[in-house]
Symmetry: C2
Subunit: 300 residues, 2 copies
Amino acid sequence: MFEQLGLIGCGLMGGSFALALRRAGLVRQIVGYSHSPASTERARQLGVIDVAAHSAQEAAHGADLVLVAVPVAASLSTFQAIRPALGAGALVMDVGSTKCDVIEAARHGLAERLGNFVPAHPIAGKECAGVDHADPHLYTGRQVILTPLPETRLAQTQRANAVWSALGAHVRSMTPESHDSALAAVSHLPHLLAFAFTNGLTAQANSAHFFELAGPGFRDFSRIAAAEPTLWRDVLLANRTQVQLQLDAFRGALADLEALMQAGDATGLGQAIAAASATRSQWTMGTGPVVDATSASTPA
Amino acid sequence: MFEQLGLIGCGLMGGSFALALRRAGLVRQIVGYSHSPASTERARQLGVIDVAAHSAQEAAHGADLVLVAVPVAASLSTFQAIRPALGAGALVMDVGSTKCDVIEAARHGLAERLGNFVPAHPIAGKECAGVDHADPHLYTGRQVILTPLPETRLAQTQRANAVWSALGAHVRSMTPESHDSALAAVSHLPHLLAFAFTNGLTAQANSAHFFELAGPGFRDFSRIAAAEPTLWRDVLLANRTQVQLQLDAFRGALADLEALMQAGDATGLGQAIAAASATRSQWTMGTGPVVDATSASTPA
């Protein structure tokens, strides 16, 4: 049980965490802050937070758990803002889709509190942003990746593990580099492709006609193109090196298919498609065993 | 009410049509044939067809409605096979994802029966193929595109319109060229990209790790990569000219995003992503008004 959650960023991810934590009976009070006063007030109206703070520092003050749920580019300024207010034992986590850049920001921004920071990325989301879409079940059954630093206190990693587990998530630990390369492959690149695909359609004179005829395949393929622009701009910029590697791998595979198609090579094209189809048919969404070195325990 | 449906190709699309037609009480008997004897027998066991024919010609014999639901590359041989068995008044339709090539096949294969052929493309499907996944509701609420030829008898287009409408589909008519360019944009290109994306991942040494961390975004974006290989090989080859145009448009949009990302241009990248996000957020799956020149009537 936590006495107080300091929630910095009352959007979809942060709001869902707050709702889930309260639903699990793991928090007594939630103090929230969003950059936009309207968002903070909306979160209070919806009962996602109990108290609307006027600054990130105020939200963190007195909290034994602080969740930083802001676009990753705002990590440094947020860490700097909350550092003076952090208690010596407060667990600090983020929910960012990239980890190396957030850790770099934490090294600069959290200073003597760095050992209390457990970088976290819940692999969950929706294409609709904002606290109005916050959902206490957003993390249920999803994977949460922890990428603790060498400096991270083991007890804090264990608490982080325990709290996400208590929310029904499956917790894994890995290095931030391993996280960022994998997420570039299976999340950041698909977003980039979906954005490009949508813009490529819109640029054409017949796009209205095209969109009218789009069916269920288009619906699912392009769903992530509706994602929150600022968040994804920041993710792509923060992880651009890994995204570029994945983009190059994709381009190679696309060129292979294109050459087979243009050559009319039915056998080769059929084999290449069959390989993709078999791979995707066999895939099931992972629930991730607990593979980290720490053991789960109930939250302190 | 039709006396007899001759179903050539008892797979997902054909089987679903048979189930829907029977459910609507619009057919007395269904005679089916698949290239694979095991598939034909399975369709009979499941009650999707009443009688298992030993050839396409046998399935078409005596039918007043013939549905050709085969991979588009098999269209010509199928039309040639059934032509001698076709009655003078039998309505013939296909369900192919491309129309220009199927029409070309019909011109050669159906000869004097060409006027009874109404090219049709129901914009519906699943990533799992085969009669075991046939679903009487597959076409409910979906769009069905008819692309009648100048030679097509108006009465047959009206019957085609009526039967699909009776199954709960929304029928539209357009030229085959207009259909093929639009479907290249919103269906064929996304499939090509999803195949390439999946193969680009698989080619990497860490792909098993990547796939483990894939979440809901990956699940939806890549769903169509699991599609039936032969069917999609044929579609991409048949419509390769239009697919190439769409691929070029996509590459241009992707290069724009890549340049902004690599330049670290947060403003420009944010705007480009915001454009995609706004477009996709506003899109809803079309149900397609009846815009063709024929009027709907109950099936003859």
